[in-house]
């Protein structure tokens, strides 16, 4: 086998050194009756056979290269410059461990520091951690963070009605150990926070920027109203949109979370993705996750190391701010390379393309007989009301090698005639025109 280099002859020598005749003797502490069970697993096959089998499985999946793709809903088909996979797949990054030994991990550490710096700039915040599992767990941990250090009577978290249903599910599970009410609000977060009579014990108000339906909420006055209630303002943002629009920090957020998949990570059927978390200097010691900081050696040379570790599980055990250990380091590295490559101009241009093409698509679809697009400010995603069942319509478009969006019935059984359409910088005018034409023809 190519992954086990010890030869039969060497094994004999090694066993001899150990004073045993068989490898099984090394397992003498294991209950004898349980040793060497017959596994219901096929015999091994060769590399070419493995890849043939997996290629056959992969070939049955619709993919965003072969289909015109208008489905987002939390995972987005954005451009990934070729340098991102080329650099991130270097073995020195790919096969390194967590940088607990900084002298031999300066590559990973400096990249993490640069990632933290660029995300701080993008979100308008002071400090950033080196990743969570995904956007949903980052948001859940942000809400947990808002509970930390608060008094017992802090028991209310306000969540927007447009929160991604799967994020909502993750939040409910992560918060299930705490006596906290998760209450849904509609409309402006400033107004929700100002409802003093019903908001006893308000801990945090979450806003999605934009929400699951692509809608950009009015965040004006939110930070003031939320801080007035002595609660924290948490914003879950789209990082591509932040290349163009006002940062959550500028809106007064205390904690910002985001799904970083859009920043150079593949769709990959749902993962690995990147949970982004950023906060203010005042809250950094309550933030979970690994953080990289600048440090000096005895000769004054600059280096980078994991810092503020007194928050973490390997030091504080049951008193740690979170149990997180392994994170999404490689996804973070990909986002770091992505941001360096796209830079200030590239990220803005991608966001502008999303904005203009999505609005172009929305206008054209809205003009189709029987179709309407919900009004209001949106970014790259919008709800389309369809004349016929959206799932049936979508099914017809699959035959044309087109995935027109997410039928909302996937999450809400009573919303049969709504389609969530997503347009990014990878959808050309031709694609959009084709989509419009197909919707018209297939909805008759």
């Amino acid at each position: 086998m190519p992954y086990i280099p010890v030869t039969g002859e060497q094994q004999e020598d090694m066993l001899h050194k150990l004073g045993v005749v068989s490898v099984e003797e090394l397992f003498e502490d294991l209950p004898k009756r349980l040793r060497y069970p017959k596994l219901d697993l096929s015999a091994g096959i060769s590399e070419s056979e493995v890849l043939r089998e997996l290629s056959a499985l992969a070939a049955t999946n619709a993919n965003a290269d072969d289909y015109r793709w208008f489905l987002g809903a939390g995972a987005y088909n954005h451009f990934i410059p070729a340098v991102v996979p080329a650099l991130a797949s270097r073995g020195e990054f790919l096969t390194a461990y967590t940088p607990y030994q900084p002298e031999v991990s300066q590559g990973t550490l400096q990249a993490a520091f640069e990632y933290q710096s660029m995300i701080a700039a993008l979100t308008g915040m002071d400090a950033v951690n080196a990743s969570h599992y995904d956007g949903a767990t980052a948001l859940a941990e942000a809400v947990l963070m808002s509970l930390r250090g608060t008094s017992e009577d802090k028991r209310l978290v306000l969540l927007p009605e447009g929160l991604h249903p799967e994020y909502r599910a993750v939040l409910e599970l992560y918060l299930s150990a705490f006596d906290v009410e998760l209450r849904t609000y509609r409309g402006r977060p400033a107004d929700a926070a100002a409802e003093k009579t019903t908001n006893t014990g308000l801990t945090a108000v979450v806003a999605c920027y934009p929400d699951f339906y692509g809608r950009i909420p009015d965040l004006s006055g939110a930070a003031e109203a939320i801080h007035e209630a002595e609660a924290l303002f948490i914003v879950a943002a789209d990082p591509i949109m932040l290349g163009l629009l006002k940062s959550p920090g500028a809106w007064g957020a205390d904690i910002v979370t985001a799904e970083g998949q859009s920043l150079g990570n593949e769709l990959a059927y749902g993962g690995p993705y990147l949970g982004i978390m950023a906060t203010t200097n005042a809250l950094v010691r309550r933030m979970p996750g690994r953080i990289v900081g600048e440090a000096r050696d005895a000769e004054g040379r600059r280096g980078f190391a994991l810092t503020l570790v007194a928050r973490e599980q390997h030091i504080r055990r049951e008193k740690a701010v979170s149990n997180i250990c392994s994170n999404q380091g490689l996804a973070m590295l990909r986002s770091c390379i992505y941001l360096a490559t796209m830079g200030k101009t590239g990220l803005r241009r991608a966001a502008e393309l999303c904005w203009h093409r999505a609005h172009y698509a929305a206008k054209r679809i809205d003009a189709l007989p029987g179709f309407t697009v919900e009004e209001g400010a949106f970014f790259k995603e919008f709800i389309v009301r369809t004349p016929i069942d959206a799932e049936i319509l979508a099914e017809r478009l699959y035959e044309r090698k087109m995935v027109p969006g997410l039928p909302l019935s996937r999450y809400f059984s009573d919303r049969r005639k709504e389609l969530l359409v997503c347009v990014t910088e990878l959808n050309t005018r031709e694609d959009i025109d084709d989509l419009v034409e197909s919707l018209r023809e297939e909805s008759k």
Partner: protein, 480 residues
């Protein structure tokens, strides 16, 4: 050798440069409300080659499995086959959307289903969820399941989870996040669970508050817990459930199914045992297996097989969702490729090779590096030394860097004061083990004759030992 600083991205930025080429705008513009526009954005402005050089230079400042031996105890830093990368980058996996309709993503669901079945076969559990993103998230999943099991039976008072003092920090931290109380139980003189202490802890508060036990086997000392079946029986008889921490599964794969020991729930680190790369800290995958007692509580959805082909299903009493979508799918593809290639026989050879290598390496160095609790017993996939006289374990670790080896895990488990935890894995050759042993022995000699050499190590890295205390006091977390 001189190691100049690698400039930060901000210092490489030159206004007017761009590293990416984007399509031209081909539709009419829609005005953006001015009150929504951001004023400025400070991101680097670089050409593509500058980006490539920067990250290439950075990568060269890392140790990695591809370059160096990484005997990092409890982390199973085995070789990450390149075949896995080829599998994960197939277009039909890489470019498939997680909400793609089932009818046009059967292959992806089928892969999840086949991996679930393979892990069930390997571990003996009746059902497996692939959703958790990492070992710690798998643990949290498991303790949520234990909590909900008791709650469903109306036993809300069962909130105490017993954890041996040799456990990973994630065990007690996961309990806290699940609203349970982590209670430490001491190890006995041979490093195993102290049975009397276990019985006493189970019986506390009339025996009505025990939720369960979290146990790592082989333990973090690299020793198989010989009393494991007795331990499981004690906890079960007290009404508790047993969580198995699968961090050390590399010692058992193909040789023993952990479910046969009586565990109710357990996670497996696919990024350890099943060869997926660590990526400088992640992503991992912490698949969770459950015995019939808990399989209805697994997070959903799970992949399943219907008459129409692969589909999804949600367990009857599912705890809910740990993560969006389908787990760290790219990691799952890699692990499945590895299992396919090795098959049952290959996996058995993994554990055998891991245990053989660990015991051989131990035999080469134990006269100089005494083994904690291991007297007269075989180690499993790793061993823990108590260190050497005259210097601290940290100094040994740093000196190993001068010899071109990544340091082992140090100061863990906490019950061994100067712990040096060595796990060679099965993918290292006898030549590498011999060379590493030689380095360790020569360091032991240096510790006697010239300890200053160790105290000042490492000598030829881009930076020396960093002042982490000062860095934490006045943290600099971003460049400005």
């Amino acid at each position: 050798m001189i190691h100049p600083d690698i400039p930060l991205l901000k210092d490489l930025s030159v206004p007017g440069r761009i590293g990416a080429s984007l399509p031209r705008l081909d539709v009419e513009e829609t005005p953006i409300p001015p009150q929504l526009l951001r004023d400025s954005l400070t991101l680097p402005e670089m050409d593509e080659l500058s980006v490539v050089r920067h990250f290439t230079l950075l990568s060269q400042r890392n140790y990695s499995i591809d370059g160096q031996f990484y005997p990092l105890g409890s982390c199973t830093m085995k070789y990450n086959p390149k075949m896995n990368e080829a599998a994960a980058s197939l277009t039909g996996f890489r470019r498939t959307h997680p909400l793609s309709p089932e009818r046009i993503s059967r292959g992806a669901i089928d892969l999840l289903y086949k991996l679930q079945r393979s892990l069930e076969a390997i571990t003996g559990f009746s059902a497996v969820s692939l959703q958790p993103a990492a070992g710690a998230q798998g643990e949290l999943t498991g303790v949520f399941m234990i909590r909900d099991y008791h709650r469903r039976r109306g036993e809300n008072r069962r909130t105490r989870i017993l954890i041996p003092d040799s456990a990973h920090g994630t065990n007690p931290a996961s309990c806290t996040m699940a609203g349970l109380i982590a209670q430490t139980i001491p190890s006995n003189t041979s490093g195993g669970v102290d049975l009397d202490a276990l019985r006493a802890a189970c019986a506390e508060e009339g025996g009505k508050t025990l939720a369960g036990l979290m146990i790592t086997n082989p333990s973090t000392l690299g020793l198989f817990e010989c009393n494991i079946e007795e331990i499981v029986r004690i906890v079960h008889e007290a009404g508790g459930l047993v969580y198995g921490d699968g961090a050390n599964m590399n010692a058992l794969v193909g040789v023993l199914r952990p479910a046969d020991l009586g565990f109710d729930v357990m996670h497996f680190n696919l990024h350890k045992t099943f060869s997926t790369p660590h990526g400088g800290g992640g992503p991992g995958a912490g698949a969770v297996g459950a015995a019939p007692s808990l399989s209805d509580y697994l997070p959903g959805p799970l992949a399943a097989m219907s008459s129409e082909g692969p589909t999804f299903t949600v367990p009857k009493h599912s705890i809910g969702r740990m993560k969006v979508f389908n787990g760290n799918f790219g990691v799952l593809v890699r692990a499945y490729a590895y299992i396919l290639m090795l098959g049952a026989d290959g996996l058995r050879r993994v554990a055998e090779g891991a245990v053989l290598n660990a015991n051989y390496l131990r035999a080469l160095v134990e006269h100089a590096y005494p083994v904690a609790y291991g007297e007269g017993r075989r180690s499993m996939h790793e061993f823990v030394s108590t260190g050497i006289p005259n210097v601290h374990t940290l100094d040994v670790a740093k000196r190993l860097i001068d010899y071109g080896f990544h340091p082992p895990t140090i100061y863990f488990p906490l019950i061994v004061k100067e712990a040096l935890m060595i796990e060679p894995t099965e993918t290292e050759s006898k030549e590498t083990l011999d060379a590493f042993a030689k380095a360790l022995l020569s360091i032991a000699e240096e510790a006697r004759s010239n300890p200053e050499l160790l105290l000042a190590a490492p000598h030829d890295t881009p930076v020396g030992r960093l002042d982490e205390t000062a860095a934490a006091r006045k943290p600099i977390l971003c460049y400005r």
